[in-house]
C-alpha cells in the first residue's frame, strides 16, 4: 500500500525537551488526525515517523541520514544547528527543508534557496514587529529617541542574528541599544545581566531566549521589579515559562502568529480522533497551549504543501520534489483555513517562488497570569528595513559558498 | 657494557662528590643538620643510621630533589649551592628509590629504556616516522639495555608491566633503570629491603660488579649491617640529621655512639 513518508524530527528528550515535547505532540497529532479522520491526504495515508534528535546536531544528522533514503517529502529539523548543514544538501538530495520561523533567515529568498522554506516570518521580521509594537505604544517610533532598549539574548547564532538590524533601528530612531548576552551554560544564572538592567534602566526589554533562558529571565525581571508590560519576547516562551514566575509575570508579552486555545474544529478533531482514542502520548491538557498549537501550525503547513503538490502534479503519492513545488505555490487562504477547521487560528499563508517566508504579520500576546491573551492587532514587519538585509544576506551566502548552484528549478504558477 | 663517559676526568680515589655543611629542615623537623662528607671516585660509600635519620633526605639533596637551606655540594669539581634534578641526571647521578618508584604502567623493558632517554638524541621528526636514524638509535640503545637485562637476569620479565612484579624484582628493574643512565655516581636507597639472603647475595653481586667492572661510584643506604659491612669501603652514620660517625666499616662498628644510636648490639 502506498503512503507518503513524513519524518518528524523531534526532541522529546534533552535539555530543551520542555519546548520540544509540546511541538512534537502538536506536529504528530495533527497529522495523525488527518490519517484517522480523512485517511491521510488525498486518500493516501501519511507514514509519520518521529526521529528523536534531542536537539543535538549529531543526532539530527543521523536522523537525516536515516530518513534520507526513505523518500521523505520534506524534513522539519526543528533546530537551527541541524538546519544549517541541511541547507546545502537539500538541493542535492531533493528533499525540501521546512524550518518554520527559525534557521537561516536569508533562506526566505527563494531564488537563492529553492529548497528551503521558513514561513511565516523571520527573526528579523520578528524584531521589526516588536519594535513597531513598542513604537506604537510610545506613540510613534520617533518617540523612541533618547530612550534605551535592552536586548537579552542567547549568546549563539539565533540570539545574535537580530543585532545588526537592531543597531540599524537604534541609529535610525535614535534610541540606545544595550546588549545582555547570556551564554548557553549560564542560562539559569542571569543575575548579573539583570543587575546590569537595573543599572542601565532600559525603557524596554526585548528577549530572544530559548529553553531555561526564558523562565529564568522572567523570574529575574520580576525580582528586580522590572515593569513586565515593557518586557517583550520573540515567539518562543511557553505557558510554563511565564507561569513559573508567578503573579509577577503578569503583563509579559510575546509575539505570536497563531491562536492559543483548543477551540478550533481541527483541534477538537485531534481530541476526538487521536487523544481520546489514545493514539498518541500527548497529555490531554497540552492541547491548545502555545507551543502545541505551533506544532499544529507546522503540520498544517506540511499537510497543505502535500495537498498542494498532489494538486499540481496530479499524483497521489508525491515526492520531495513535488512537495517543494507544493510549498512554493502554497496558498492557504481564509476559506481554506475554514475548510480545514482552523478558522481564526492564524492569518492566511501564501508563498511564492521568490519569497519562501511570506513575512506575515504577527500579533502581541500578553500573559494574564493564567493564559496568553491577544493584545494587539496584527503587526506588519518593516519590509523596507528587513528586505535589503535579507537579499544582502542571501547574496553574501552565495559569495562565501563558492559554487553555490544557480536556481534551475522551474517556477510553478499558483494553482 | 661500556664504561661511563663524559665530564672532566676524575681519577679513582679523588673526591667525586663533596657535601659541605648541608642543612635541611621541614618546618620544625630538622632532617639534615650541618652534615659534611665526601664520596671518592670508585668507592662504595654506605650511609647508615636509624629510621628517620635523614639518609633518604641526604640522597634527595645530592640529586637535586631537595634544595638544602645551607651548605654546598661539589660534584665533579663544580661547586654549587643547589642542583636541578636534570642537571644531576645529566651530570651522571643515577638513583634508585626506597619506595620503588618505577613507571608502573610500563613494561620492565620500557622502564629501562626510559633510563636511556637522556642519551637518545633523535628529534621529533624522526620519531614521527620511527625510521632511519630514529630506528637505528632505538636499536642501538636496545642493545645496551639488553646487556643490562642479561646482567641482572631479568630476561623473562622483559615484557611484564612492572606493577605486577613481586617487590624484589621491581627493585632489580629499578637498578637496571638507574644503570641504563650509565651513571658515574649511583645512589642506592635500601636496594635490599624485602629480600631474602639469597636475593641479597645476588644484589650484592650486582653492586660489586657495577663497582668493579665499570668503576661506578656507589652511595648505598642499607639497614642490613651484614651487607653494609661486607660491601662498603667507608661508612657515614647519621642520627637525627646529624653525622655521628664516618670511617671504615670496622671503625664505625666499634664506635660507641653508633652502637647506642643504631646498632644496639655490637655486630
Amino acid at each position: 500500500q502506498d503512503s507518503i513518508y513524513v519524518p518528524l524530527f523531534t526532541y522529546r528528550t534533552g535539555p530543551f525537551s520542555g519546548s520540544g515535547i509540546f511541538i512534537a505532540e502538536g506536529m504528530h497529532d495533527y497529522l495523525e488526525m488527518l490519517n484517522q479522520r480523512d485517511g491521510g491526504i488525498g486518500g493516501v495515508k501519511l507514514a509519520i515517523e518521529e526521529c528523536e534528535t534531542g536537539y543535538d546536531t549529531k543526532k539530527g544528522l543521523e536522523c537525516y541520514e536515516a530518513v534520507k533514503d526513505k523518500k521523505p517529502v520534506m524534513v522539519n529539523p526543528w533546530s537551527t544547528g541541524i538546519t544549517l548543514p541541511l541547507i546545502p544538501r537539500a538541493a542535492v538530495d531533493k528533499i525540501p527543508v521546512l524550518s518554520m520561523a527559525y534557521g537561516l533567515s536569508a533562506a526566505a529568498i527563494g531564488d537563492t534557496f529553492p529548497w528551503i522554506f521558513n514561513p511565516p516570518a523571520t527573526y528579523w521580521d520578528g524584531l521589526s514587529m516588536i519594535l513597531s509594537y513598542i513604537g506604537n505604544k510610545e506613540g510613534g517610533l520617533d518617540k523612541l529617541k533618547g530612550k534605551t532598549i535592552g536586548y537579552i539574548y542567547l549568546d549563539a547564532g539565533f540570539g545574535k542574528e537580530p543585532i545588526p538590524l537592531f543597531e540599524q533601528f537604534a541609529k535610525d530612531y535614535g534610541f540606545t541599544l544595550k546588549l545582555y548576552p547570556v551564554a548557553a551554560t549560564e542560562m539559569q544564572n542571569q543575575s548579573s545581566q539583570w543587575l546590569n538592567v537595573r543599572r542601565d534602566r532600559p525603557n524596554y526589554m526585548v528577549m530572544y531566549g530559548w529553553g531555561a533562558l526564558n523562565p529564568t529571565a522572567i523570574k529575574e525581571a520580576v525580582k528586580i521589579n522590572y515593569p513586565m508590560d515593557k518586557f517583550v519576547s520573540i515567539w518562543w516562551p511557553s505557558e510554563d515559562d511565564a507561569k513559573s514566575a508567578g503573579d509577577g509575570a503578569k503583563g509579559f508579552k510575546e509575539l505570536n502568529w497563531h491562536a492559543v486555545g483548543a477551540n478550533f474544529p481541527a483541534i477538537q478533531d485531534i481530541k476526538k480522533y487521536v487523544t481520546d482514542k489514545n493514539l498518541t502520548q500527548t497529555d490531554k491538557n497540552h492541547l491548545g497551549q502555545v507551543l502545541y498549537n505551533r506544532g499544529v501550525y507546522n503540520s498544517m503547513l506540511i499537510a497543505e504543501a502535500i495537498r498542494n503538490a498532489q494538486k499540481i502534479t496530479g499524483k497521489k503519492v508525491v515526492t520531495g520534489e513535488d512537495v517543494r513545488r507544493g510549498l512554493e505555490t502554497l496558498d492557504v487562504d481564509k476559506a481554506r483555513l475554514k475548510e480545514i477547521g482552523l478558522d481564526g487560528f492564524t492569518d492566511p499563508v501564501k508563498l511564492t517562488c521568490a519569497d519562501h517566508n511570506g513575512h506575515f504579520p504577527a500579533f502581541m500576546q500578553e500573559w494574564d497570569g493564567t493564559k496568553w491573551v491577544k493584545v494587539s492587532e496584527p503587526i506588519k514587519p518593516d519590509m523596507a528595513k528587513v528586505g535589503p538585509l535579507l537579499s544582502a544576506a542571501a547574496k553574501e551566502y552565495v559569495e562565501k559558498n563558492t559554487g553555490w548552484p544557480k536556481r534551475t528549478e522551474a517556477c510553478d504558477k499558483a494553482s | 657494557m661500556r664504561a661511563p663517559s663524559s665530564g672532566p676526568e676524575i681519577a679513582a680515589g679523588d673526591v667525586l662528590l663533596a657535601v659541605e655543611n648541608v642543612s635541611l629542615a621541614f618546618g620544625g623537623v630538622k632532617a639534615v643538620t650541618d652534615v659534611s662528607f665526601d664520596i671518592r671516585k670508585g668507592e662504595i660509600r654506605a650511609i647508615i643510621g636509624p629510621n628517620g635519620a635523614g639518609k633518604t633526605s641526604m640522597l634527595n639533596i645530592i640529586n637535586g630533589f631537595y634544595q638544602p637551606q645551607q651548605g654546598r655540594i661539589t660534584f665533579k669539581g663544580k661547586t654549587r649551592p643547589k642542583m636541578q634534578p636534570y642537571e644531576a641526571a645529566e651530570g651522571g647521578i643515577g638513583r634508585t628509590f626506597q619506595n620503588v618508584a618505577l613507571f608502573r604502567g610500563m613494561t620492565a623493558l620500557d622502564n629501562i629504556m626510559a633510563g636511556r632517554t637522556l642519551k637518545m638524541k633523535r628529534g621529533f621528526f624522526w620519531q614521527l616516522f620511527r625510521y632511519g636514524p630514529a630506528m637505528r638509535e632505538e636499536v642501538e640503545h636496545r642493545l645496551f639495555v639488553e646487556e643490562i637485562i642479561d646482567f641482572l637476569k631479568i630476561q623473562e620479565i622483559r615484557r611484564t608491566p612492572v606493577g605486577r612484579l613481586p617487590y624484589g624484582l621491581q627493585k632489580r628493574v629499578e637498578l637496571g633503570r638507574a644503570l641504563a643512565m650509565e651513571p658515574e655516581l649511583l645512589l642506592l636507597d635500601e636496594p635490599m629491603a624485602g629480600m631474602n639472603i639469597e636475593e641479597k647475595e645476588d644484589m650484592s653481586r650486582f653492586i660489586l660488579d657495577v663497582n668493579n667492572y665499570y668503576g661506578t661510584t656507589i652511595a648505598l643506604i642499607e639497614h642490613d649491617m651484614g651487607v653494609v659491612m661486607d660491601l662498603s669501603d667507608r661508612v657515614v652514620v647519621l642520627d637525627h640529621g646529624v653525622k655521628i660517625a664516618d670511617g671504615t666499616p670496622d671503625e664505625v662498628k666499634r664506635d660507641q655512639a653508633v652502637i647506642d644510636a643504631y646498632l644496639g648490639v655490637a655486630h
Binding site: T13, E52, G81, S105, G157, E396 | L128, R130, V139
Partner: protein, 358 residues
C-alpha cells in the same frame, strides 16, 4: 593454537621493536586496512558510511589526541572540544583566505593552530596537577567557546554565526560540501586518520612516548632521570591538541558540513574523555574501541529497536537507550576497569594459551 608467537623468532631488535611483533597481528592489521580502504567503500551503504564510519573515525582521532595527553602523559584535559574548535575555525579561515590550496593540506595544517593554543593553556601544567589541572583546560574550553561566538571574524562574519563549509575538491572530486559523496569523504578521513594513527603509534613507542609515560607514572622519578617535565608535558599538549584540531576540522568539513560554535562545547570534551577512559587509557586501539562504544552503541541500540520493530515511542526508545548505555558503561568498567583495550589483550592472551585456561 591459531594465535601464538611460539615459533616466531626474531633475529634482530628491529623486528623485536616492531609495533606488531606477532605475525597474526600483522596479518590482522592488513586485513582490517583492506576492509577499511577497499571493501567498505564498495559495499557499505551511505547511511553506514556517513552515520557510523565517518563519525567513528573522527571521534577516534580526537580520542587518540586526548589519549596522548591524558592516557599517555597523565594530564587530565577537559578542553578537547575547544581544541577541536580551534582546528575547525583555523581550517575555515585558511581555506577562505587561500581557497586554491588543497583542503586536505589545510586540514592537516589547522591542527598546528590547535597545537599553539594547546601549548598556551598547557603552561600551567607544571605547577598544577591531577584533577586540579582540569581547571586550566576548562578555562581554555570556556574561553574558546566564548571566543568562537564573539569573534565574528572567525566565521567570516556569516550572519548565521556558523561555519558554512564551501565545496572543495581533491583531484577534481568534491570532498567537502553537499556534493561530496559519503564514499569520498570516508576515504579522505580514513586516509588522514590512518596516517595520524601511524604517527601516534610511532611516537608512543619511541623515546618520546616513553618519556610521556614516565611522567604519567611517576613524574618525580622521571625528573630525577633527566626527563624535563615541562618540555615533555608541553610537547604532549602540542601533539594532543594537533590531533584534536585535525579531528575538529574533519568533523566540520567532512561530516557536519556546517557548524555552530555550540558543537565545540564542554559536552564534546566530556564525550571524548569518556571514549578514552572506556577504551583504555594509554592505548591507541582503545581509542577506537572507546569511540565505538560511546558513539556507536546508542546507534546500534536504536537500530536494533527499529529492526526488531518494537512499537515503542521514539522518545521512550531514547530513554531506554540512555539507561542501557549507562548500565553498559558501568558493566564494562566492572568487568575490565582498564578499558576495552585491556579486555582485548586478555582475550588475545587467552587465545594464546588456548586450549588451557591459563
Amino acid at each position: 593454537m591459531l594465535y601464538r608467537e611460539a615459533g616466531q623468532f626474531k633475529t634482530s631488535y628491529v623486528a623485536d621493536q616492531a609495533i606488531f611483533p606477532i605475525r597474526q597481528d600483522r596479518i590482522g592489521l592488513a586485513l582490517i586496512l583492506l576492509i577499511a580502504f577497499v571493501v567498505l567503500p564498495l559495499t557499505a551503504s551511505d547511511f553506514f558510511l556517513s552515520v557510523v564510519m565517518v563519525p567513528l573515525l573522527i571521534f577516534s582521532l580526537a580520542a587518540i589526541g586526548l589519549n596522548i595527553l591524558t592516557g599517555y602523559t597523565g594530564l587530565l584535559s577537559l578542553g578537547t572540544g575547544g581544541f577541536m574548535g580551534v582546528g575547525a575555525f583555523a581550517c575555515y579561515k585558511l581555506t577562505s583566505i587561500f581557497p586554491e590550496v588543497n583542503i586536505v593540506i589545510w586540514i592537516l595544517v589547522s591542527g598546528l593552530f590547535a597545537s599553539g593554543v594547546g601549548i598556551l593553556f598547557g603552561l600551567p601544567s607544571l605547577r598544577i596537577k591531577g584533577f586540579y589541572l582540569a581547571v586550566a583546560t576548562l578555562s581554555a574550553q570556556f574561553f574558546l567557546d566564548w571566543a568562537f561566538v564573539r569573534l565574528p571574524w572567525l566565521v567570516n562574519y556569516n550572519i548565521s554565526g556558523a561555519i558554512e563549509v564551501p565545496t572543495r575538491t581533491l583531484f577534481g572530486i568534491p570532498v567537502t560540501g553537499p556534493n561530496a559523496t559519503p564514499q569520498v569523504r570516508y576515504l579522505v578521513i580514513l586516509g588522514v586518520v590512518t596516517l595520524l594513527t601511524w604517527f601516534a603509534s610511532n611516537l608512543v613507542h619511541g623515546r618520546i612516548g616513553r618519556s610521556w609515560m614516565a611522567v604519567r607514572d611517576m613524574d618525580l622519578a622521571a625528573e630525577l632521570m633527566g626527563i624535563r617535565l615541562y618540555r615533555t608535558k608541553l610537547l604532549a599538549f602540542a601533539v594532543s591538541s594537533y590531533f584534536c584540531g585535525v579531528a575538529g576540522a574533519l568533523m566540520v568539513f567532512l561530516w557536519y558540513g556546517s557548524a555552530e560554535p555550540g558543537v565545540f562545547g564542554i559536552d564534546q570534551s566530556f564525550f571524548i574523555l569518556f571514549m578514552v577512559i572506556i577504551g583504555g587509557l594509554g592505548s591507541l586501539i582503545g581509542s577506537f574501541f572507546g569511540a565505538g562504544l560511546i558513539y556507536g552503541l546508542p546507534i546500534i541500540l536504536r537500530g536494533f529497536v527499529n529492526a526488531v520493530g518494537l512499537e515503542i515511542a521514539p522518545a521512550t526508545v531514547e530513554h531506554l537507550t540512555f539507561m542501557t548505555v549507562g548500565a553498559l558503561i558501568v558493566f564494562f568498567l566492572i568487568i575490565e576497569p582498564e578499558g576495552l583495550a585491556r579486555l582485548w589483550q586478555i582475550a588475545k592472551q587467552k587465545l594464546r594459551v588456548w586450549p588451557f585456561p591459563y
